[in-house]
Symmetry: C2
Subunit: 371 residues, 2 copies
């Protein structure tokens, strides 16, 4: 038995947006799916029960953060992250590569791996494809990522070529190091920035190695929305058809819609919980910045169309008061809403694909969202 099974059940007639069935160690999911991020084991502010309510049961853990704390030994002792944080759902881990590149000012890349600084105490750390897999094996996620280098989008062609080649070699080394193939799936990561031939080359080489799914990296790293959509459009037809496609770190409502339109099956993003801690809610009528004075005496919920626990009970005025007073409950209430909103969006997206009405749904949604 394989840790991951995947089937495309249907494609939207107009766009080709994919409705899929994903099975992870016996747990079943419909795709496209959005995965909340539990950076350090928890989705910030929320308990497992709440994450169950506002997700489809698959969340992401960050390998880099979990490596630093609680660390491999504790994770092993508890039988993996889920023995530790008691999450009952499915779990995907990133490779740690993104944080190695984004959270450290200085780093040294060699064929062997990356030497970089601990984001808190500055001590020297080393990450290799094998170490990344070792940590992810200790976390015991259902889906793991190969260690990749994630250069800036507009890195030079020559550097990007060198980097893509190294990422492919790292992917092979990661696969070789992976100990528990029957219970942890492994994805390869397609890098290449804006260079179509490099993206194509990366896909072909990763397919030769063979992975359970393929991730698109190097997007949402500073490129424009147009550049992002162009890459997605290009990848749509050349990504392996029968494997899940995961667009890493992308998760605003419009990015999700453009992703789905271009054949993406899986998304993750810290945004819903991060903007919540800045007092911003995602709603069917666009973003609501709860700090605004106009909400001071507003009896209405964050989103009038939403049926989440936050919107069923609390007014904008009360959440604004809590936020202005620095009460953590406000982060929690908005985080809950923002994730619920995305869960609901994914539900509506799946319904739209089932009915071959994805484009109509997308246009209707975006029109309301951007008023």
């Amino acid at each position: 038995m394989s840790a991951l099974e995947f089937e495309v059940l249907k494609k939207d007639k107009e766009t080709g947006a994919r409705l899929g069935h994903l099975v992870l160690n016996g747990k079943e999911f419909e795709t496209p799916i959005f995965m909340p991020v539990g950076t350090k084991g928890d989705v910030k502010c929320l308990t497992n029960e709440e994450v169950e309510e506002v997700s489809d049961g698959l969340i992401l853990g960050n390998t880099y953060h979990l490596w630093l704390s609680p660390g491999i030994e504790t994770l092993k002792l508890f039988g993996g992250l889920r023995g530790f944080n008691k999450w009952n759902g499915a779990l995907l881990t990133d490779s740690g590569g993104y944080q190695v590149f984004s959270l450290s000012d200085t780093r040294k890349i060699s064929e062997e791996g990356v030497t970089f600084k601990h984001y808190k105490n500055g001590s020297s750390l080393f990450m290799s494809p094998e170490i990344s897999i070792e940590i992810q094996n200790a976390i015991s996620s259902d889906i793991m990522m190969s260690l990749d280098e994630c250069p800036p989008f507009n890195e030079s062609y020559s550097y990007m070529k060198e980097s893509v080649d190294r990422t492919i070699r790292w992917a092979k080394r990661g696969k070789d190091a992976h100990k528990f193939k029957n219970r942890q799936a492994l994805f390869g990561i397609v890098q290449g920035g804006p260079y179509k031939d490099l993206r194509k080359y990366a896909i072909e080489e990763l397919e030769k190695i063979g992975f359970d799914g393929y991730s698109i990296g190097g997007l949402s790293v500073g490129e424009s929305k147009e550049e992002r959509i162009e890459v997605l459009k290009y990848l749509k037809d050349i990504m392996p058809q029968d494997k899940p496609r995961y667009l890493m770190g992308v998760g605003t409502p419009d990015d999700i819609l453009y992703g789905v339109e271009n054949g993406i099956d899986m998304f993750d993003c810290v945004e819903p919980t991060r903007i919540a801690r800045h007092g911003v809610a995602t709603t069917s009528l666009g973003r609501v910045n709860i700090k605004n004075k106009e909400y001071e005496n507003d009896f209405s919920p964050l989103d009038p169309s939403c049926e989440c626990e936050t919107c069923k009970k609390y007014s904008k005025a009360y959440i604004r008061h809590l936020f202005r007073e620095g009460e953590m409950l406000s982060y929690r209430l908005i985080s809950y809403h923002n994730l619920y909103f995305l869960k609901n969006l994914m539900h509506n997206i799946k319904e739209a694909i089932k009915n071959d009405k994805f484009l109509e749904f997308k246009n209707h949604f975006l029109k309301k969202y951007y008023k």
Copy 2:
């Protein structure tokens, strides 16, 4: 019909600890009762549903903080605090006096009231007995407090006498200003520091004015435990027998036990949630400082005897990891436990009084608590 009804149902044979029945606008409670503090409308980190789970349904709101935000106008617009924060239970408010004295470095007390500085922006504010009542009327709590001055415990006798007299005059003015006597009860506050004759005098004068209950102020303000217990012992026999007695701002397990032993019916304290945010849990085996290295790989819950949601699910090791990583979920999980612990303590106290075994229970509890 009165906003408050109270009856002493039984006294513990050995100690005289009181078991009481309190009715607040139709909502019934058993005393002794502990009230979690919702300073700014929310009990920090927790939703109303959770506060219901870890309290007996009566919480405290801080008049000073609610006055500054959301303010009287918003509170009136929402029909009181409970229209705003959606708390379904009962509500007690303090007078704001304690914060006026504790949160401002400089203040000027006159017969009319107190001029002091806003604790955040330093602007000049004025609080009088009438203003305190006006705010509490706007909050629409079930039980209100008269504005009192709260001098340091070891203030001179002559100043304390002057202050007690003023507090009594303020109590009379507050009662006169109170608009909604049939739906909001009003308590008088007994000050007097360590001076027994002043405490006795305060009680007699407040009784002449007539209040729905009597609060003991000026404790937990720097005096020793022995000094505190001596005041409580003295007050035990001279406080009005047929009215609820509220020991303000006191709520460690041992202070509650000594309070109950000396006839106290009501307690409140920010401690359970405040120490939670410093990583400290109250347990049947004493305090647990979750930061301690010894808990790094500890599979056991915060309190092995506890059946709260935190203890049913999460290990010390996981909560320690969350706390060390600054994850707000840790504050929430410990706050929930700490309040549940007190709710359970109050339950056991009431059972002990019913069975005339209060002293046995107290000694057993404290022996375990202090090992």
